[in-house]
């Protein structure tokens, strides 16, 4: 056995999970009777050969690899930028084919409705408002609502070109939408890099499973961007990725996307607008740009119409978009549709635009400007989660059961001062997944952010970013709040799983898996 191979000690199948405790939560791997769910059988068989120490060592190898490859995000502390790796837990999360089909159908439906709503609002007749589906004042008081976006066309109505929809599973295992991210959802680079890392540090666990690949994301994104190019730009539109620059915490992802698509990564200062045409400054002079996949917030895009102190943006960009000479993706003004108060109306918007029942339910949400709902919420503040409507990244959330009296009082005062600015939700007891904690496995809460591409057809990348709340008991999974991630495996449909020893030197004694049960 090679020195780097799995430990030679006879691995007891239960050793990794020796003292594992579901803790009364919905567990992704074990059912209510502590039996392994069938879609995890092959993985656990593959993991039999590893001791916790093996996993710890491999986790270190992975960490060193991410660091030398510069797969990092930047955290700013007292003006000093520190590059951190995004921790990846070595146990992958597995979604069986039928569950994934359900998720995919639900996401396509939801993003279709959200695109319709945004197009209706910004270039349409505002039918949903006129028909009383959603109140005018609610839309117009949203931070993400943007008057500058009126009349700016987006080919194919693909306003949410990239959407990241955060899903959670509740105590019964039902997938629910926690929030929509329609402005600049990030994390897709980790989806792909996590997979690459997994195949390198734990190649053997991939045996005997048919896992859908994710590395075509760059091609799919470029296709979608090509399709929303202004009609006049012809067959070979010039696409660029617009980044705020090297100091942005997600810079690695911007680089990653540009190189996956093989397009230029530009900063605002590389672009100029002349006569409503956008060009980039190259070594050979100016070159026209047709589609901008921007990773800059609306407010910084164009100092002429938005924040005049922005040096990240491009003066005149909005006018060029209005003239139809360039497409900005994601579209300007999308924030109105991922506002957490507007979120409560999305099921109604799905019924209104598509005439269908929502496939993926929301989390039960209370709107605090409604007097009755507010009274009930203030009554049960210690049982609910309160979120500011316009924040992303897990900032400003108050989790009732975990909050101190003082925090609850502050929260109450905030709600009473500005009820429009908050929503309250029932606490979802997020599902848990075994995760490597120091040298053993413990259950940790997880969510799932799949990525959805609109460009005419809607495509869902099989998998997504599974985020893990690495702190014991924590429900907050955001990377800015100490979260980690997992590789996410979507199993292919109708594949016969055959478990066999893949080579003679490794004695896999785990063929006692009921193949019929799996297929």
């Amino acid at each position: 056995m090679p020195p780097d191979g799995p430990s030679a000690t006879e691995a007891d199948p239960s050793s990794l999970f020796a003292n594992y405790d579901r803790g009364g939560f919905f567990d992704e791997v074990f059912d209510a009777d502590d039996q392994v769910r069938p879609h995890y059988a092959a993985l656990l068989a593959g993991l039999d050969r590893f001791t916790p120490e093996d996993l710890v060592r491999r986790a270190r190898i992975r960490d060193a690899a991410f660091r030398s490859q510069g797969i990092t995000f930047t955290v700013y502390d007292e003006g000093e930028g520190i590059e951190r790796t995004f921790p990846m837990d070595l146990l992958p999360r597995i979604v069986p084919a039928d569950e994934w089909q359900h998720i995919e159908d639900g996401l396509v439906q939801r993003v279709t409705a959200l695109n319709s709503f945004l197009d209706d609002l910004y270039v349409g007749e505002r039918a949903a408002i006129h028909d009383g589906i959603i109140p005018t004042w609610l839309v117009e008081t949203s931070d993400g609502f943007n008057r500058e976006a009126f009349g700016i066309p987006v080919p194919l109505g693909a306003r949410c070109l990239v959407a990241g929809v955060d899903l959670v599973r509740d105590g019964e295992g039902t997938y629910r939408v926690l929030e929509d991210n329609l402005r600049n959802p990030s994390g897709v680079s980790y989806v792909i890099e996590n997979r690459v890392a997994m195949t390198r540090v734990l190649p053997t666990v991939f045996a005997n499973q048919q896992i859908r690949s994710v590395d075509h994301y760059g091609r799919s994104l470029l296709n979608a961007l090509n399709r929303v190019a202004p009609p006049a730009s012809g067959d070979q539109p010039t696409v660029v990725v617009l980044t705020p620059g090297v100091f942005n915490s997600a810079y690695f992802e911007h680089v990653f996307l540009a190189s996956q698509m093989g397009v230029e990564l530009v900063e605002g200062r590389d672009l100029v607008v002349d006569d409503h045409v956008v060009s980039m400054r190259t070594t050979q002079g100016l070159k026209r740009v047709d589609v901008i996949y921007r990773r800059i917030d609306d407010a910084f895009l164009d100092p002429v119409v938005f924040r005049s102190d922005s040096t990240l943006g491009v003066p005149g960009l909005m006018a060029a978009a209005r003239a139809g000479n360039v497409t900005i993706a994601n579209a300007v003004g999308n924030g109105v549709a991922d506002d957490k108060a507007v979120y409560a109306y999305v099921p109604e918007l799905i019924r209104y635009y598509l005439g269908e029942e929502p496939i993926l339910p929301n989390v039960e949400t209370y709107l605090l400007w409604d007097e009755d709902q507010r009274a009930e919420v203030l009554d049960r503040l210690d049982e609910l989660v309160v979120k500011p409507v316009a924040e992303a990244g897990g900032y400003g959330i108050v989790i009732g059961p975990a909050a101190s009296d003082a925090e609850l009082e502050e929260c109450r005062a905030n709600i009473e001062a500005d009820p429009r600015n908050y929503i309250a939700q029932e606490v979802v007891s997020l599902s848990r997944h075994p995760s490597l904690v120091e040298d053993h496995l413990e259950g940790r809460h997880i969510d799932l952010r799949p990525f959805v591409l609109s460009g005419g057809d809607i495509e869902v990348i099989p998998g997504g970013l599974t985020r893990v709340a690495m702190r014991r008991g924590s429900l907050v999974v955001n990377s800015s709040q100490g979260g980690g991630s997992k590789d996410t495996w979507v199993l292919a449909k109708g594949v016969e799983l055959v478990v066999e020893a893949e080579d003679e030197s490794t004695e896999v004694e785990s063929s006692a898996i009921d193949v019929e049960e799996l297929s």
């Binding site: 660091r67 030398s68 490859q69 510069g70 620059g245 090297v246 810079y251 680089v255 540009a258 190189s259 230029e264 990564l265 530009v266 900063e267 200062r269 590389d270 100029v272 607008v273 002349d274 006569d275 409503h276 060009s279 980039m280 400054r281 190259t282 070594t283 050979q284 002079g285 100016l286 002429v304 003066p315 005149g316 909005m318 006018a319 209005r322």
Partner: protein, 323 residues
């Protein structure tokens, strides 16, 4: 390619070469001085500072010139933007802004180099194992160069990388010579050998000139060799070749014309004539010429200032453009 990306690649090349040259220079100086008198030593270290054009800045700091102070200043002083550590950090920062243009292996080798350097106790290295440290810097720079040569497409990005790399090398070799030519006496055998060594040229030199240490031969070798890749002429030829590829349709751009004139001056020079005249002045002119070429490259390729001025004239929506 994007003007900004071209500029970053140019500087990535320059900074890497600067780090490598500085490491070579320090290594040779340090080990060449182990058997000399204190006076010679002080002179040698101030020569080093002059070769990297930091003599004045260092003197302003009112520090004594010793092996320790100069080495620390040139290896890891955070206030010195020309220290090896700063140069490698800046090479990495420049590469980071053009990562999508680089192969994964290239980025990884440069990134690991930088992380390794950051992770070391450089003060202790200087005290106990300077040769190991300088060797590491040299090897890692050569690794990056090798990975670049093996993985980068010969497109614009590559040309700018090579251009920056070789202009820095030519300039550095030139300064090294200016500092050393004053010790022209044939008796300074020791210094001349070290000069060759710091350019990694001792073996190649011996094959061409045998064991002679005639200063004229050394100057000819380091300045005018057509076969040794670190000679001034060879570096300028390589840079000129890169610039030629960058000029569209064989256009004679300003930097290309300047570099061509500079290179042909050396191409047809005769070392005996140079030594009879004022070699110091001659080297100074070449060095100045190289700086002018770099400035013209920036104007030609990195700034695009003409378009930018035009653009700033009418950025409000609805205003007509000036045709």
């Amino acid at each position: 390619m994007l003007a900004r990306d071209a500029e970053s690649l140019f500087w990535t090349g320059r900074y890497l070469e600067r780090a490598e040259d500085t490491a070579r220079l320090l290594d040779v100086t340090y080990h060449g001085l182990l058997e000399t008198s204190p006076a010679e030593e002080a002179q040698a270290w101030s020569d080093v500072l002059a070769a990297v054009r930091l003599g004045q800045v260092f003197a302003d700091g009112r520090r004594p010139i010793t092996a320790a102070t100069v080495s620390e200043y040139l290896v890891f002083d955070p206030k010195n933007a020309g220290s090896i550590l700063s140069a490698v950090e800046q090479a990495r920062e420049n590469a980071r802004t053009v990562r999508e243009q680089l192969s994964t292996e290239l980025w990884e080798s440069l990134n690991s180099f930088c992380l390794e350097l950051r992770g070391r106790n450089l003060r202790a290295d200087l005290e106990y194992q300077p040769h190991e440290l300088y060797g590491m810097v040299r090897r890692q720079c050569q690794t990056v160069a090798g990975v670049a040569a093996e993985t980068m497409a010969r497109d614009e990005g590559w040309r700018f990388f090579v251009l920056g790399w070789n202009l820095e090398r030519a300039e550095m070799s030139c300064r090294l010579l200016s500092v050393r030519y004053r010790q022209l006496s044939p008796s300074a055998f020791h210094q001349w050998m070290n000069t060759l060594r710091s350019a990694s040229g001792l073996e190649a030199y011996r094959r061409s000139y045998r064991a002679s240490m005639d200063p004229a031969d050394v100057v000819e070798f380091l300045l005018l060799s057509r076969t040794f890749p670190r000679s001034v002429l060879f570096s300028l030829r390589t840079a000129e070749n890169a610039l030629g590829h960058l000029a569209l349709d064989g256009e004679l751009t300003r930097p290309l014309r300047q570099l061509g004139r500079l290179r042909s001056g050396l191409e047809f020079a005769d070392v005996r004539e140079l030594l009879q005249g004022d070699l110091g002045e001659e080297l100074h002119l070449v060095e100045e010429g190289i700086r002018q070429v770099a400035a013209s490259v920036a104007t030609q390729y990195f700034s695009n200032s003409r378009e930018f001025d035009l653009h700033s004239l009418h950025l409000m929506p609805g205003e007509g453009g000036i045709r």
